[in-house]
């Protein structure tokens, strides 16, 4: 059964037929596009098994994962049987919703428990986990030919993303430096750009903004012209997560930094410059004039669902948030469009600060080599392509997937402007924060200060001076400033 179909899938993997011919051939045999995808993935896994690498070395071993409830985890689970077949290994996992996920990770890692071998994480979290000795430097696996299959192709990972997951552990140390440790492997990532409701934009005669002044005026116009709709969705809760998406992407676009690093490695606050004040003033006024009325409680969830429900005209947030809101049962599904965004009118290109869902290995794991087998498969090119073309594994972190014609045409068809947005902003996409262990303290306080500014509890310049003073005090207390 399916022998002919499998052969066709293998021919496609071997590069003997194009994707179009393969899909046409499958269709003539009565195979749907989604089944064809499954067959192609199975053929890719078989091809992987034939690359001379001993995939069965840890057959019979079970690795246990700690996962966040996320489409990336769903894509991995959907493809897990292929991994089991390839390696003879078993995989167990616990999945937690994001609200409690990182508390669970912190508890599991800090206790030194060996229950979980690997887990999902963000790159920022590794700035705590790495120095604490809770996770392994994965360079020693990536660079070891006896442990890593020859088709893994580490260089295929987008450079900015790959480097953003590597840090030398020195406060203020550059991400991706030569001495950096690879604390985690990028899995999927989010750029921060504009997602706008094209139906509303057409209705109100709006044009897509290209800088922060236009963003503020377009948001104000949208609010004025569209009944019951607010102009711009950005995050506002009292959390580090308010700072890292649109806000820091805009901030970095003006060439601003969060911290200064002196020659002797000491850190100091850098957010109270004139340029920063100017940018903060515009940001705060934009929220006051056209943001959500309950902005100060908005997380990614509210920003996204309001866009999907037609309550906001646009968001400056994670591109994949717009991606997911453009489908499913959302009221505005099919009406959303995407655009790259550079806040600074003088900037040549966008500088999206990125969030990277990554995979890390617990240092307490008792079966690290077997765990690495899972990690290299889950972050390998075959699974990335499967996830991107058959599931909702966007944004992929591999160049090869972004070059895949099938993936690009699927995105182009259903998500207008998405591919173009990605291509324009990807070169500038990276983490723009200074890597240091007080990341969460300082960004949470930054978010609280923004809330005070928006609520007119403190003027912008005074608020920034107070923030800088507090940041410097905390850095000093921690021996970093």
């Amino acid at each position: 059964m399916y022998e002919k179909e499998k052969k066709l899938a293998k021919s496609y993997i071997d590069g003997k037929v194009s994707r179009r011919s393969m899909l046409r051939g499958m269709a003539s045999m009565g195979v749907t596009a989604s089944t064809a995808g499954v067959l192609v993935n199975a053929a890719a896994t078989q091809a992987l098994a034939q690359n001379g690498f001993d995939w069965k070395k840890y057959s019979g071993t079970t690795v246990k994962l700690l996962l966040n409830q996320h489409p990336y985890a769903d894509a991995m689970i959907a493809n897990l049987d292929n991994f089991k077949e390839l390696t003879g290994m078993d995989v167990e996992y616990d999945i937690f919703p994001e609200d409690v996920y990182f508390d669970k990770v912190t508890a599991a890692l800090s206790s030194g428990s060996s229950e979980y071998d690997a887990f999902m994480t963000g790159a920022y979290m590794t700035w705590t986990y790495g120095p604490a000795g809770w996770i392994d430097d994965l360079n020693e696996y990536i660079g070891d030919d006896s442990k890593t299959n020859p088709d893994y192709n580490w260089e295929d990972m987008l450079e900015g993303v790959r480097k953003s997951c590597a840090w030398n552990g020195q406060p203020g140390g550059a991400l991706g430096s030569d001495d950096a440790k690879q604390w985690c492997i990028p899995w999927g990532y989010e750029q921060n750009n504009l997602t706008y409701n094209s139906r509303m934009f057409n209705e109100a005669g709006l044009t897509v903004p290209t800088n922060i002044d236009e963003l503020a005026s377009t948001a104000a116009e949208a609010k004025a012209k569209l009944n019951g709709v607010y102009g711009i969705g950005v995050r506002g809760s009292r959390s580090w997560a308010t700072i890292h998406p649109g806000f820091l992407s805009a901030y970095a676009n003006f060439g601003q930094k969060d911290l200064n690093v002196s020659d002797d490695g000491m850190l100091s606050a850098a957010m109270n410059t004139d340029v920063s004040r100017n940018m903060h003033e515009k940001w705060v006024k934009m929220i006051q004039d056209s943001g959500a009325p309950d902005w100060s409680t908005h997380t990614w969830y509210q920003a996204g669902t309001d866009l999907g429900a037609g309550k906001s005209a646009m968001i400056f947030d994670a591109d994949i948030l717009g991606y997911f809101m453009n489908g499913g049962d959302n009221a505005e599904a099919g009406n959303l469009s995407f655009a790259p965004f550079a806040a600074n009118p003088e900037a040549k290109a966008p500088t999206p600060n990125i969030w990277i869902w990554s995979l890390a290995m617990a240092n307490a794991s008792k079966q690290k080599d077997a765990t690495w087998y899972f990690l290299q498969w889950a972050s390998g090119p075959e699974h990335a392509l499967f996830g991107a073309t058959e599931m909702d594994f966007v944004n992929p972190v591999r160049k090869s997937v972004w070059a895949d014609a099938g993936f690009r045409s699927r995105l182009d068809k259903n998500y207008p402007g998405y591919v173009e947005m990605h291509d324009i902003s990807a070169p500038g996409a990276q983490i723009y924060f200074t890597a240091q262990p007080l990341f969460f303290d300082l960004t949470t306080e930054w978010a609280a200060t923004l809330q005070k500014m928006v609520a007119n509890e403190v003027p912008v310049d005074e608020g920034l001076d107070q923030l800088a003073q507090s940041v410097d005090r905390q850095l000093k207390e921690a021996g970093l400033g």
Binding site: R238, D294, T449, Q451, A455
Partner: protein, 307 residues
């Protein structure tokens, strides 16, 4: 443990040396205490350390430095102020409302019994769920309470999103959840009061307000103190309602002790500061509990005819 045997070896009787009996009997209590005391003393030790999980190499005893730093840290004083305000406002309102409802339901009728059971419903709701429910009801865009506010002329009410109304909003949620607790406690107290003084007052046609101030309230005071003690201790340790609704914001409007300690530990991994904050919270709770218990004991003695 020592054991002794007497009589026929085939019918040995298991006895315990009287000397060790008190220790054996208190063993369960001791084990329970150990379960509480070990984490407590660990927390005390952490509070005297500079200890961040992200900087394990810098872990060392700094003795009272965490506490001394609080003295000059405006965010600590804000936390203290917010926690005390929250605790006293919520408990004050809940006491007044709870007492009022209990007085209305004092008479044993079917209707009153039914209403008192119905009024307990909020207490059955987990505070975190109640907060999510209220978060939806107070949503400025579609919340039913925002709609009502608008119909009575309060435009653009932002509830927990605005620093000027955030405290009010979380107090309302707390009052909704916990007033039934005070109500049921005071209702039980009212119904257990001896009838004679009230009957005597009725015969003498004493005004109801006078009866309330001079008979009901003094006799109800032990119940009021008990309810206040429980609620103050719980309220000063509030976490779920505030965190679920605002995460301590906007700005620092609602950064109570537990929220601040939680963020310090789980987000900043600053174990030392988090433990020191909780130690101060423990000291405040201990101090307040002592005051209430002493007063409660004094009133009990008085009721028994003591000095």
């Amino acid at each position: 443990m020592a054991t002794s045997t007497t009589g026929d070896p085939s019918r040995r009787k298991f006895t315990i040396n009287k000397k060790y009996l008190p220790y054996l009997l208190s063993l369960p209590a001791l084990l329970t205490c150990i379960g509480i005391l070990i984490p407590f003393f660990t927390a005390v030790a952490y509070s005297l350390q500079r200890y961040r999980l992200s900087q394990p190499w810098a872990q060392k005893y700094n003795w009272g430095e965490n506490y001394i730093n609080f003295m000059t840290d405006p965010s600590f004083w804000n936390t203290l102020k917010v926690s005390m305000t929250y605790a006293f406002v919520t408990v004050g309102v809940e006491l007044l409302l709870g007492l009022g409802i209990a007085l209305l339901l004092q008479k044993r009728t079917r209707f009153n019994n039914f209403v008192s059971i119905m009024l307990l419903m909020p207490l059955m709701t987990a505070p975190a769920l109640a907060s999510l429910m209220w978060k939806l009801m107070t949503n400025p865009g579609f919340g039913v309470l925002s709609y009502f506010a608008e119909t009575i002329g309060i435009e653009d009410m932002r509830w927990a999103s605005d620093p000027s109304t955030a405290m009010l909003t979380v107090v309302i949620v707390d009052v909704w959840v916990y007033t039934p607790f005070i109500m049921i406690l005071l209702l039980a107290g009212l119904r257990s009061l001896p009838r004679q003084p009230f009957e005597a007052a009725e015969l003498d046609a004493v005004p109801r307000l006078f009866v309330f101030w001079r008979i009901t309230l003094p006799m109800l005071t032990p119940f009021l103190l008990t309810a206040t003690l429980f609620r103050v201790i719980e309220s000063i340790q509030q976490f779920d309602i505030i965190y679920a609704m605002t995460q301590g914001g906007p700005g620092d409007t609602l950064t109570v002790f537990q929220v601040e300690a939680y963020l310090n530990f789980f987000q900043s991994t600053n174990v030392g500061r988090s433990a020191a904050l909780l130690m101060i919270l423990w000291a405040i709770t201990y101090f307040l509990s002592n005051i209430f218990i002493k007063n409660w004991l004094r009133l009990r003695e008085k009721a028994r005819g003591g000095a």
